[in-house]
């Protein structure tokens, strides 16, 4: 890392004060309902001080640490997408005239707070970038979307430990954030000292840091931060081989593994809710009882619902198998063709929050292990489906291939 600075734990709140003075609404991790979620933060004591999380497929619980780390956990069920793309947005409201015309169309004032994200992890920075590309990178952009995050201030945190379901190393999205932040903190806990090694990522970040008591980082402090990074990188709970994964999934769309996972998948959509890049929304028009006014709402939707793919006649993806396949292949494969990158950042949320513990890294591995490359077109009646049993006929050569 380049020039770095050190802020002592005792001075941490000066950082929050500096942001507050600039009119930012600080949102960051906090404990609520036995999970670490994102909400407004006023002081460092609102953070999950001394907490860590234990995550596995279908499991999440908090546990007390034996230190007072502010950021000693991985990511929880919330992601920053709730600020980029809120769960419910009123797009406009209008009056409906006698002739059906809409008048007085008012779009809500774009007065969303100026957010400062405190504690964004490297995987999340990638997710924010990916979601920005979806919402703002196309030929049609809604100004409301860009208004929400154009003034965003990001204080990233370099992960001090990997979560049980993390695989950012495989996705090359972490654990160390290299760009996309205004400031990045690495928390270092030593026997007698608790401090943060701070990297500056922008001029705005430098200005804010100037108002926080800090020193130039010594070599030993930089090394301590480096050690934290290396330790986290070695602790990944999962791995995903992404070698040509798009092509792998494209040629295995009829793989029997999809049937297998469909027997477990409840199509509950939890994975889409917690995923930081899932962006699907549904648009609904709502009228009042008198029919005088109509509002257009945009709500989070999930490709796991049957209605999602409904056309005249019914749903294109009626079976659970087709819906799970849609989600996983979108995330890992078609996203590349649609938006130029993977849709997955390796945060592991979908694995942790799946009630039956479905793990997309395991599903991908199963498919890779029995890749059907080289076999003829799917379902062609290969020997696996039709078993020839040459009974009786003497000298009957070549049964069905």
């Amino acid at each position: 890392m380049s020039a770095a600075h050190v802020v002592e734990r005792i001075d941490f709140d000066a950082l929050l004060d500096a942001l507050a003075r600039r009119g930012y609404t600080i949102v960051g991790p906090t404990v609520r309902d036995q999970a670490i979620v994102y909400d407004e933060i006023a002081s460092s004591m609102d953070l999950p001080v001394g907490w860590t999380d234990e995550q596995e497929a279908g499991q999440y619980r908090l546990r007390r640490r034996d230190d007072e780390a502010l950021f000693g956990y991985a990511v929880g069920p919330h992601s920053w997408k709730q600020y980029q793309l809120p769960a419910e947005v009123k797009l406009w409201r209008a009056r409906v005239d006698q002739d059906g015309a809409l008048s007085d169309v008012t779009e809500p004032a774009r007065d969303t707070p100026r957010y400062a994200f405190l504690g964004a992890r490297s995987c999340e920075l990638h997710a924010i970038g990916i979601l920005d590309r979806v919402l703002l990178g196309g030929s049609h952009t809604d100004p409301a979307d860009s208004a929400r995050t154009q003034d965003l201030f990001i204080v990233a945190v370099q992960c001090g430990e990997a979560g049980g379901t993390c695989f950012c190393v495989s996705m090359k999205t972490g654990p160390v954030a290299e760009r996309g932040f205004d400031l990045a903190l690495t928390e270092v806990l030593e026997e007698r000292r608790h401090y943060f090694v701070v990297e500056v990522g922008s001029e705005r970040g430098a200005d804010v840091l100037a108002e926080v008591p800090h020193t130039q980082a010594h070599g030993s402090e930089r090394d301590a931060a480096g050690a934290v990074h290396a330790r986290t990188a070695s602790q990944m709970g999962r791995e995903l081989d992404v070698t040509e994964i798009k092509e792998l999934l494209y040629r295995n769309l009829d793989h029997p593994q999809w049937e297998e996972v469909a027997e477990r998948c409840l199509t509950c959509g939890n994975c889409t809710m917690v995923c930081p890049t899932c962006f699907c929304t549904t648009v609904e028009d709502v009228t009042d009882l008198a029919g005088d006014h109509v509002e257009r709402h945009q709500r989070w939707d999930s490709c796991f619902t049957v209605d999602y793919s409904g056309i005249h006649g019914g749903a294109v993806r009626g079976s659970a198998k087709s819906r799970y396949r849609q989600w996983m292949t979108h995330k890992l494969a078609t996203w590349h063709d649609q938006f130029g990158s993977s849709g997955c950042v390796g945060c592991g949320r979908c694995i942790t929050w799946c009630p039956v513990g479905i793990d997309l890294t395991a599903e991908a591995a199963m498919i890779r292990a029995s890749d059907r490359e080289g076999t003829s077109a799917p379902g062609s009646g290969s020997p696996s489906m039709i078993r020839a049993s040459d009974s009786g006929a003497p000298g009957a050569p070549g049964g069905p291939k």
Partner: protein
């Protein structure tokens, strides 16, 4: 346990063929069985063989997004499944799915075409029988098209 030739001889589509020619046909055949629900073949795939149903039932279907699979016809014991192996471009036009577990005799289409090319009498005999079976299906399909049970004019 019947030999392949006996099984083929029993089928009405091969009725009346002399033993020598039945043996030729059997030389391109083998037994097969398939579980209920499995696809025998799919629209668009290479049609390299056809099947005689010994036991069980096969549904010919068309799949459409939204409405799903629509069964056009079901075929049962003694019936032949698949004609696209006879004519270029040798590709299946429909899906076929076992609706019951089925025991089949599977015929290698290329093998049989080659034998017909070499023995025109065999070819003529087979074409007569196949044409007859196809005509029967065509006539049945035309009746199906009439939608005779439907109401006069119901909008879609």
């Amino acid at each position: 346990m019947k030999g392949l030739e006996d099984l083929i001889a029993d089928a009405s589509v091969f009725a009346g063929l002399e033993p020598r020619r039945l043996a030729l046909i059997a030389g391109c055949a083998g037994n097969a069985h398939i579980r209920a629900g499995t696809m025998l073949f799919q629209e668009g795939q290479p049609a390299d063989r056809f099947f005689l149903i010994r036991h069980g039932a096969i549904a010919l279907e068309v799949h459409s997004p939204g409405t799903g699979s629509h069964v056009i016809e079901t075929l049962g014991e003694g019936e032949v499944v698949g004609w696209s192996w006879l004519f270029k471009p040798y590709r299946w036009q429909f899906d076929a799915r076992a609706i019951q577990p089925a025991r089949l005799v599977a015929f290698d289409g290329a093998c049989l075409r080659a034998k017909c090319d070499a023995d025109h009498e065999l070819g003529y005999q087979l074409m007569q029988r196949f044409a007859s079976a196809m005509l029967e299906r065509l006539q049945a399909t035309r009746l199906q098209l009439l939608d005779i049970y439907g109401d006069a004019r119901t909008p879609a």
